[in-house]
């Protein structure tokens, strides 16, 4: 691996008076992993389908996409007696391909991002220049920048800077929002949290851009994404200017292209409908109730009205044997099925109608036996992915799809070690 970008970064950190943190103080944020519903929301039950588990069903998913990140405080700068933490994040999005039942790495994109509240520090009296790195900010094209930098220097991991005192989003008049002011620097926990939030946003952006890149390369292939789809969509502009209009499906054509063969597997279900989901739990067979929510955001989970939510009790046999689980929905998985995924190419116009007149058009569409079968086949293809069981925590064993777990394992193995990131300083 080349050392050009890294040396540049090291030199900057050294000349800016960034002090290394003691070795014992390198916390790494680990997201809590509790698949516990925290929000029940009114939703329209579109239908519920009994999904057969016939051995003749063939898998349709070829690519499995996930994103991983590691964020580590690597040092601190003392500005007028205030200690400001400096973070480094390593972000990776990638896909594995299933070939003859075996998983093979397909592609990954990655970026290292230096994170600190530069504008706030400057306003507080810090006299150093901003880092001599490409900046990831509200001007967008973040994925495009990361991709082109990686392609220009394939031997090096691209390194960027993102100022955590300024939001990536803009207000309606196009102005940047301030996240941290000079007075906030004393709140070290808040400064840290902003760095972690920024990583999460950047990860979604990279995932979104990556799926879009995959869409260009493998237009006909089905992609199974780890996690909900809706949270990604709002970052269209920030990821790539080509995706402008993905937010709120402002550009149905782009949205159709993006969504038509992508399914999200949500193992950490936080949003459930107020009623109806028990059908998935009570039936002796695999019954999947399918809902259409209005847009709801709950922590890391998000649903949207153009994405159907199919709930499946994926590994009921296993759930019965794991008695320590205490949440009703611990074994429940939600599959986010964007409406374009159940439309074929000739139905782009139907997609536009459904967007305009959501529920009625969708019901009409699904009232056709052919279209209903199409959805049923999709759910069957999802259901056969329940075996094998990945090795993980008990809750994940119930809800995680094996190829996605493999993809995550592969991507995590590519993450730089905490100490390696720490040694950047």
């Amino acid at each position: 691996m080349g050392k050009g970008f890294l040396n540049e970064l090291k030199e900057y950190l050294r000349s800016s008076g960034v002090n290394p943190l003691p070795l014992s103080d390198i916390p790494e944020e680990v997201a809590p992993d509790l698949p516990v519903a925290t929000s029940s929301t009114g939703a329209i039950e579109i239908m519920h389908l009994e999904v057969g588990t016939s051995p003749e069903v063939e898998t349709i998913f070829t690519f499995f996409v996930d994103g991983v990140q590691r964020t580590v405080p690597i040092g601190e700068v003392i500005v007028k007696e205030v200690r400001v933490p400096i973070h480094i994040a390593h972000i990776i999005a990638g896909a594995m391909e299933r070939v003859n039942k075996s998983m093979k790495p397909y592609k990954l994109r990655q970026a290292i991002v230096l994170l600190f509240p530069y504008q706030a520090m400057k306003a507080y009296g810090w006299d150093k220049d901003s880092p001599p790195l490409d900046i990831l900010d509200s001007t967008g094209n973040i994925y495009r920048k990361a991709k082109s930098k990686e392609e220009d220097n394939p031997e090096e991991t691209p390194i960027f800077f993102s100022d955590t005192s300024i939001s990536l989003r803009q207000d309606q008049s196009g102005r940047n929002l301030i996240l941290l002011g000079p007075g906030d620097l004393i709140k070290t926990g808040e400064v840290r949290r902003k760095a972690l939030d920024r990583t999460k946003e950047l990860l979604r952006i990279v995932e979104l851009g990556f799926i879009w890149e995959m869409r260009q390369e493998k237009n006909d292939s089905w992609i199974l994404l780890d996690g909900p789809i809706a949270p990604l969509l709002k970052y269209g502009r920030l990821a790539d200017s080509d995706l402008l209009g993905l937010e709120d499906i402002a550009n149905p054509e782009i949205a159709f292209d993006f969504l038509h063969r992508v399914i999200g597997a949500v193992k950490k279900v936080q949003i459930v409908p107020t009623a109806g989901v028990e059908a998935a739990l009570n039936s002796a067979n695999f019954v999947s109730p399918i809902f259409q929510f209005s847009s709801v955001v709950e922590d890391d989970d998000e649903v949207a009205r153009w994405i159907l939510s199919a709930y499946i009790w994926l590994r009921r046999e296993l759930s019965r044997e794991i008695t320590i689980l205490w949440s009703t929905v611990s074994g429940l998985v939600r599959f986010d099925i964007p409406i374009p995924s159940i439309l074929d190419e000739s139905m782009r116009s139907s997609w536009k109608t459904i967007i305009m007149d959501n529920e009625k058009a969708l019901r009409e569409y699904l009232s056709s036996e052919t279209n209903r079968k199409r959805l049923e086949k999709l759910l069957q293809a999802i259901l056969i992915e329940r075996w094998p069981v990945p090795s993980s925590t008990i809750t994940r064993m119930l809800t995680e799809i094996f190829p996605i777990a493999e993809t995550e394992l592969w991507l995590k193995a590519n993450l730089r070690d905490v100490l390696e990131l720490r040694n950047l300083i």
Binding site: P55, T59, R98, K101, S102, M103, R315, E317, L318, I384, E385, W387, P388, V389, P390, S391, M397, F402, P403, A405, E406, L409
Partner: protein, 556 residues
């Protein structure tokens, strides 16, 4: 081609002398394969695969069971968990020479000839004795798939070390075949280095070492023999392997046909297998042909003597040995009727022997001698003082001397083996002459030097083994169970070889030197052995070709 990477993880930390690596799924690696780990800066570690594991991301059998649709063996899930193959390498050679582990994820690849040359370079060319081959290629019929392994003559034959011990189950471990291959190799080395070496082989089983004179006329005929032999045993795949190894052996000077070593046979009167030998010499032993140690070995090995009997025997031999006495005469001398009573005591005198003896001691010794003679009728002459013993002077350099023991009683075997080893060691010590060095190949070593209590014969073997490297005498001992041979004898054998053995034997601590390869012993096939030699820090799994005379089963 890179086939894997060294593992340096918390769970599998790399050590200086052993480390794990992962391997690509299509690489044809097995236990015993030699692999090379290479660092970015030219560091190299040559290692033998000592252990292998296949693992996957699946945690345990429960998940595997559930993952097969809750225990349905007929189901094939849409994704097959990736199987990860791991290999444990024990380091044989390190460059630069340092006792430090790989510090990075070094590349792993198959060994090439030049790598194995690094391994051999510890042995100066003039001391390289071919002891077998490492399999480095997939195509067994290609001689290039077989890389030579050498022993250091100074460690194999002396003076730095000496003696070889071969262990393994009868019939499956091919101990005798290997001992013969080793004999050829040592003779070839000796001829090249102008050393005069005589090899003495004790034939203890069927025709193991008989018909050694019946070699094919040339290598074309050898191939025909090999073809017929492979067909007759129903393992035609062996043919190519054996011929490829012989081809390679020829390249290193081990060519039994071209070298055409002399073979001399020694057998006893009445041996039904005499027809298989060429111009055999009949051997036998009379009273005066034996030394005190031979008597002790013959009389006192199976049951412990009382001290008075030992003292009496010593006194008797001091008085009578070398003066034309016979065994019949000895029986007479010890007979109660011929003893002279010492007045007023319970003691007796023996004619011509100094001292007095408790009256029951000579008859007890007589019974012991008679019992021995009853069991040694094939090789002992009772009524003449001398027979036709095998003398040191009858050994000729660069020659295989086969001594027939098959069908003899254990008592006879002990007498003959003891007498010959004693004769040769004395000869080497006092005469020298035309012979620089003698190699003795003795199977059933547990009969002569069993573990446990001391016996006269065992003492002699231990003594010879201890002094052998100075005497220029090398013992290639073999037995089914090394655990039943005296530890000192095994310990003094610097080179150890193990063929197929049962697991119950291999768990004995005497095999600890095999490391993880111990588990491989019950899986060794014919022609495959584990070899431990002082020059190499770890044991190697080697192969050797079937001896040519063994392939003459179909007749020419």
């Amino acid at each position: 081609m890179i086939i894997g990477r060294v593992l340096v993880t918390q769970r599998e930390p790399a050590k200086a002398y052993e480390f794990w690596c992962w391997l690509s799924s299509d690489s044809q690696v097995g236990i015993g394969t030699i692999l090379i780990a290479e660092g970015e800066s030219g560091e190299i570690a040559i290692g033998i695969v000592e252990d292998m594991q296949s693992t996957s991301a699946i945690q345990d059998h429960l998940l595997e069971f559930y993952g097969s649709e809750y225990g349905n063996p007929n189901v094939t899930p849409p994704t097959q968990p990736k199987i990860i193959r791991l290999a444990k390498l024990r380091v044989l050679y390190r460059e630069p020479s340092t006792a430090s582990p790989p510090a990075h994820r070094w590349r792993v690849r198959f060994a090439r000839a030049e790598d194995l040359e690094l391994l051999a370079q510890r042995i100066p060319p003039q001391y390289r004795v071919l002891i077998g081959f490492l399999k480095v290629g997939v195509d067994e019929s290609n001689p290039e798939s077989w890389m030579p392994v050498f022993a250091h003559a100074k460690f194999l034959l002396g003076p730095e070390g000496a003696h070889v011990n071969i262990s393994g189950a009868t019939g499956l471990a091919t101990k005798s075949s290997y001992a013969l291959f080793l004999s050829y190799s040592i003779l070839a080395w000796a001829q090249k280095n102008e050393e005069k070496v005589a090899v003495v082989l004790f034939n203890v089983k069927r025709k193991d070492f008989l018909q050694l004179h019946e070699l094919p006329r040339d290598w074309d005929e050898a191939k025909e023999w090999c073809n017929r032999w492979a067909r007759s045993i129903g393992e035609e795949a062996l043919r190519d392997r054996v011929l490829a190894m012989w081809e390679k052996a020829k390249n290193f000077g081990v060519d039994p046909i071209a070298l055409n070593f002399n073979v001399r046979y020694f057998t006893y009167q009445g041996d039904p297998d005499i027809r298989f030998m060429q111009n055999p010499t009949i051997y036998s032993y009379g009273f005066d042909d034996l030394a005190k140690g031979d008597f002790e070995a013959a009389l006192f090995t199976t049951s412990s003597p009382t001290d008075p009997q030992v003292i009496l025997l010593t006194a008797y031999l001091e008085a009578k040995l070398g003066y034309g006495r016979t065994f019949e005469g000895m029986l007479n001398d010890l007979d109660r009727r011929n003893l002279t009573q010492v007045q007023g005591t319970n003691e007796v005198r023996i004619g011509g022997v100094d001292g007095t003896w408790m009256s029951n001691v000579p008859p007890a010794l007589q019974r012991r001698v008679r019992a021995f003679l009853d069991r040694a009728a094939h090789v002992v002459i009772r009524d003449r003082s001398t027979g036709q013993p095998i003398r040191y002077g009858s050994l000729t350099p660069n020659c295989l001397h086969v001594v027939q023991l098959y069908r003899l009683t254990d008592a006879e075997k002990r007498l003959v083996v003891n007498a010959i080893i004693r004769e040769i060691s004395q000869g080497l010590e006092t005469q020298g002459g035309d012979i620089d060095r003698v190699i003795i190949i003795a199977d059933e070593l547990n009969k002569y030097a069993p573990s446990g209590a001391l016996s006269p014969m065992k003492e002699q073997i231990i003594d010879i083994v201890a002094r052998g490297r100075d005497l220029q005498l090398t013992l290639i001992g073999a037995q089914q169970f090394a655990s039943r041979v005296d530890e000192e004898v095994i310990g003094n054998s610097e080179t150890k070889i193990v063929g197929y053995s049962d697991l119950s034997e291999i768990v004995n601590p005497i095999y600890k030197y095999l490391g993880d390869l111990r588990d491989q012993v019950p899986n060794l096939v014919k022609g495959q052995l584990i070899f431990k030699h002082p020059v190499y820090p770890a044991p190697l799994i080697i192969w050797f070709p079937t001896p040519l005379h063994e392939m003459n089963q179909g007749g020419s």
